[in-house]
C-alpha cells in the first residue's frame, strides 16, 4: 500500500513536471497571447484597485473599520490567491465538462493516479498568469509592510496557513461548480457560477449584514479566500472567528473532495461530443 502511494506520488510529480514544461513551451510559442493575457490581467487588476479605492474614497477614508491601505492589501491578497488558482488549477477543473462531453475523461481515469491528481498533472499550467501573480504578491507585500501590523511569529504562521486554506477553498468551490458535469454533460454553466460567486471573497467581512457575514465565515466560507487572512492580520477578526472559519473551510474542502469522488463514479464513458 505504502509502495503504491510512493509510486503514485512519483508518477504525479514526473507527469506534472512534464506538463509544466509543455505548458511553458506552448505559451511561449504563442507569445502574442502571452502579452494579451498580461495586459488583460493588468487591466483587471487596475479595475479591482480602482473599484476598491473609489469605494473607500466614497466612504471618506475607511469602510466599516478597514482603512484604504488595508482594503488595498486585501485586494492584492485576493489577487495573489486568484492568480495562483488560475496558474495551477483553472485548466484541470474548468476543462472537466469538456472532458466528460468528448470522452477524454476515459484517458484520465486510466492513469495510475487519483482522477483529480491525474487532471492536475495532465492539464495546461497557465504560466501566462505568473507575471500578474508576482505583481499582486509585490503589491500585497508593499501594503502589508506599509500598514506594518504588530504581530508575532504565530500570527504570521497562521496568516500563511489561512492563505493556503484560502486557495484550497477556491479550489473546492471550483469543484462544487464543475463536478456536476459528471451527472449531466451539458451542465456547463458552472464556470459562470464560479466567477460570480468567487468575487464575494474579496470584500471586507464587516461590510455584510451580520447574518450574511456569518454565512460567509462559517457556512460557505468564501471569505477565507482573502478577507479572513487579511482580517486576521489587521486585527479585524479575532482568534475565535478565524478558528471557526478555518474549521469550516477544512470541512468545505473535504466536502468538495468527497463530492468529486461521488460525482466521478457517475461517469459512464458514454458521451455525445466529438
Amino acid at each position: 500500500m505504502k509502495q503504491q502511494t510512493e509510486s503514485g506520488q512519483r508518477s504525479f510529480f514526473r507527469i506534472y513536471r512534464q506538463a509544466l514544461s509543455n505548458s511553458a513551451g506552448v505559451m511561449l510559442a504563442y507569445r502574442s497571447n502571452l502579452i494579451f493575457f498580461f495586459l488583460f490581467e493588468s487591466f483587471f487588476l487596475t479595475s479591482s484597485f480602482l473599484g476598491a479605492g473609489l469605494g473607500v474614497s466614497l466612504a471618506g477614508g475607511s469602510i466599516n473599520g478597514w482603512s484604504r491601505d488595508q482594503v488595498f492589501a486585501l485586494t492584492a491578497l485576493n489577487g495573489v490567491s486568484h492568480q495562483f488558482f488560475v496558474c495551477f488549477f483553472i485548466a484541470p477543473l474548468f476543462n472537466l465538462p469538456e472532458y466528460v462531453w468528448n470522452g477524454r475523461m476515459d484517458y484520465i481515469l486510466q492513469k495510475p493516479l487519483h482522477p483529480l491528481l491525474a487532471l492536475i498533472a495532465t492539464s495546461e499550467i497557465m504560466i501566462s498568469n505568473l507575471p500578474n501573480f508576482a505583481i499582486n504578491l509585490a503589491l500585497a507585500v508593499y501594503f502589508i509592510l506599509k500598514i506594518a501590523p504588530s504581530s508575532g511569529l504565530s500570527v504570521w504562521l497562521a496568516f500563511g496557513l489561512l492563505g493556503i486554506l484560502g486557495i484550497a477553498v477556491r479550489f473546492a468551490l471550483a469543484i462544487f461548480c464543475m463536478a456536476p458535469a459528471f451527472f449531466a454533460e451539458r451542465l456547463v454553466e458552472g464556470e459562470d457560477g464560479f466567477w460570480s460567486i468567487v468575487g464575494t471573497g474579496r470584500f471586507p467581512t464587516s461590510v455584510f449584514p451580520r447574518a450574511v457575514e456569518r454565512i460567509m465565515l462559517y457556512v460557505i466560507p468564501l471569505s477565507l479566500m482573502a478577507a479572513v487572512p487579511a482580517g486576521f492580520l489587521f486585527h479585524r477578526l479575532d482568534w475565535r472567528q478565524v478558528a471557526m472559519s478555518g474549521i469550516s473551510g477544512c470541512f468545505f474542502v473535504v466536502g468538495s473532495l468527497l463530492f468529486f469522488n461521488w460525482a466521478v463514479r457517475s461517469y459512464k464513458s458514454v458521451n455525445s461530443g466529438l
Binding site: 488583460f40 479591482s48 473599484g51 466614497l58 471618506g60 469602510i63 459562470d192 466567477w195 460570480s196 450574511v212
Partner: protein
Amino acid sequence: MRAVFKAAGLILSQQLSVQLGYRMAFVQVALFEAIGLVGTLFYWRAAATSGSGSGYSAAGIVVYFIVASSHQILQESGISRSLSMDIRTGKLAASLVRPFPFLLQPVCQGIAYSLSRLLMIGPVLVAIFVFVPALRDFFVDVAREQGGVIWLSGYLAALSLGLVCNLVVRLSLGLLAFDMTQTWGPELLFMSIFFALSGVVYPVDLLPVPAVQALSWTPFFYMQGLPNLVALGRVSAGALTAYLARGCLVTVIATFILVFMWRRGVRKFEAIGI
C-alpha cells in the same frame, strides 16, 4: 430594399424565438450574476453609508449597481465570438451569397438579444423598484427633480446609444478574425479595459472630472457609464445633450471603422477556413 427589410424581420423573429427558447439557461446565468452582485452591493452600500459628499446615498448606490448589471445583461457579448468563428471556419462564405447584406444578421441577432433580455428582466426590475420603497422613492425623487418625461427620454436615448455602441464595437472585434487566427486575446483585453473604464465596477463619476471627460471620447463611457448615470439622474439636461452629441460622433466614427474593416476583410477573404 424591401427584400432587405423582409429578411431583417424574419431574422429578428427567428433570433427572438431562439433567445427566448434558451430562457432556462438565461435564468441560471442571471441567478449566478445575482449572487455575485450581492458582495458588490454590500461593499458599496457600506461605503455610501459611512461617507458623504459624493452625493451617493445608500439607495442611490444600490440602484446604480442594479441598473449597471441590468444594462450589462441587455448587451449582447457573444456576437464577436460567433462572427470571428464564422470568418475563421470559412462559414462566412455561405452567408455572403444570401440576398441581403451579411451584417444584417449579427445586427438583428444583437437587437433580438437585447429585446429578449428586456422581456425577461423587465418585469423583475419593475417588481423590485415598485415593491422596495427606498428604491421606488429614489426614482420618484429623480423624476420629480428632472421632470419625468425629460428624464425618461434622456435615459432611453442614452441606453439606445449604449446598445448601438456595444453592437458596433463587438462586431469590430469579431472582424479582427480577417487578420488574426485567434481573436480571443484582443477580446479578453477589450473585456478587461471595459471593466476598468466603463463604470461596471464603480460609478464612473467618482473619477476626477478630467478623467470622465477623457473617457467620454471612448465608446466605453456610452456602453455603461452614461446610461447608468442618466438612470440615476446624475447628468443635467445640458450635459446630457453634449454627451449624447459626442456619443453619436464616437459611434459614427466606430461605425466607419467597422465598415472599413468589413470591406477590406471581405475583399481578401478566401473562404478556406481552419
